[in-house]
Amino acid sequence: MPVYFTREHEWIRVDGETATVGISDHAQEQLGDIVFAEVPEAGRRVAKGQEAAVVESVKAASDVYAPVSGEVIEGNNALGDDPSLINSDPEGQGWFFKLKLDNPGELDGLMDEAAYRDWVKTL
């Protein structure tokens, strides 16, 4: 399954018409110890580039933006009980939400994994 990244350090793993969204390993490392996450509920519509979730570390609160537009089909409720999953497995069990894509064409502007990892090294 192809995975894409945004310049705001979200990842999106696409599986046909649906996709899973989270924040990158680089993002969790920058945030530090994550103590709270709020994920969108099923049925909520999110627009590309708009706030879709909240993540808070000991130090600060950050918004998580939707990489593409669509309808949320599931939020990761496990993060409510254990937000540290975002630190320990950011690109796996620490996913934030799944959505149904409005327009797969929106993926075109995102970085692929190799491009993102190279770009992060320059930050």
Partner: protein, 373 residues
């Protein structure tokens, strides 16, 4: 999430020491400072259980001296400096004419001089205020060549005793001069975490070697500013520029222990009229702690609302308590709502949180008081 580093920032004596130990550096008080090494949570808990080494060299170390320096200091601050015992740090407050707090600080009589430690972000303003308001016979020297370290935690005495024998004899809020590797040290048993510990003034040229010696002990690790903030919040200690500023008085801030009986009777400090009236009649607002329901941190800037949705105060510090594993906060509320247990609502980014006025400290202090074992 990018951290910008500006060329205009100054470097601390331990700058490369921090980087060598993997610190993430951020701009703070005009310097690049270490916000964390391995992580705020781990560093915080390490300090509560072992010994954490903090570099607080951004703070201003001043030496105030001259004719009748104690009486002169009393014209700027509400402390009882005339009766101040030698080598005993006293917490005090630099006040403006309205009784607002210009800075909070520690002042220690050392023989004929007073050694004063002020906040980093305010030090240049403090020096200007002192120089303009103290009589010409009193001189303020900024000890630029001194670094300041703090070793904090229940094992701090055990660690420091191996490097500077004799420090364990100090009681809480007591200081003394020591020598280490030929360098003069000034060490007081004090700190900003609620734990036992020491603050160590060391010549900047020897600071890295001393930090190395301390961190060579298996119980000591370097701790960043992030954990310093969460530790002092749990300890209920106010932070200047957040919980204290020109709009807060010592009475509003709950710092009346810093104004003793004689100074209350005699006045003679800036803002005395307002402060003495507030002592008598109560202040309009009080600094209080909050227990916050749920897991989400409520931070500085959040509003405090009463049961009818009226704004009755503001959060000035807040975050997730690593020791308690829940959010805690401190702020100001109208005095009639400051009673412990009062239910209030906090509003942050349009979201409401249930909270109650809570006793501080959130985590009990564990100072080394002599005779208390």
């Amino acid at each position: 999430m990018s951290s910008e580093v500006h060329d205009s920032l100054d470097k601390l004596p331990l700058d490369s020491w921090h980087r060598g130990r993997g610190a993430r550096m951020v701009p703070f008080a005009g310097y690049e400072m270490p916000v964390q090494y391995e992580g705020i949570m781990a560093e915080h808990l390490w300090t509560r259980e072992n010994a954490g080494l903090f570099d607080v060299s951004h703070m201003g170390q001043l030496l105030v001296h001259g004719e009748e320096v104690d009486a002169a200091l009393e014209s700027l601050m509400p402390g009882d400096f005339r009766a101040a015992a030698d080598m005993k740090p006293k917490y005090s407050l630099l006040l403006d004419d309205d009784g607002g707090i210009i800075d909070d600080l520690m002042a220690t009589r050392r023989g004929d001089d007073f050694y004063v430690v002020v906040n980093g972000a305010t030090k240049h303003g403090d020096i200007a205020v002192m120089q303009s308001r103290l009589p010409g016979s009193v001189v303020v020297d900024y000890m630029k060549e001194q670094a300041l370290l703090a070793l904090q935690g229940p094992r701090a005495a055990e660690v420091l005793e191996t490097i500077v024998p004799g420090v364990g004899e100090l009681g809480f809020m007591q200081g003394a001069s020591f020598r280490w590797e030929g360098q003069p040290l000034w060490i007081s048993r004090s700190g900003y975490t609620g734990e036992d510990g020491f603050e160590i003034s060391v010549p900047a040229i020897a600071a890295a070697a001393l930090a190395d010696a301390i961190c060579a002990h298996e119980l000591a690790r370097p701790i960043g500013l992030g954990a310093r903030d969460s530790l002092r919040l749990e300890a209920g200690l106010p932070l200047y520029g957040h919980d204290l500023n020109l709009d807060t008085t010592p009475v509003m801030a709950g710092l009346t222990f810093a104004i003793n009986k004689r100074r209350r009777a005699e006045g003679g400090f800036p803002g005395a009229m307002r402060i003495l009236a507030e002592l008598q009649n109560g202040p309009p607002q009080k600094r209080v702690g909050f227990d916050v329901d749920g897991r989400q941190p409520v931070r500085e800037g959040a509003l405090v609302l009463d049961g009818e949705g009226n704004e009755v105060g503001k959060i000035t510090s807040g975050g997730f308590s690593p020791s308690l594993q829940r959010p805690i906060a401190m702020g100001y509320v109208a005095s009639h709502l400051a009673e412990l247990g009062t239910p209030l609502t906090l509003e942050q980014r349009g979201k409401l949180f249930d909270a109650r006025v809570a006793p501080m400290p959130f985590v009990p202090h564990r100072y080394h008081r002599k005779g208390a074992a």
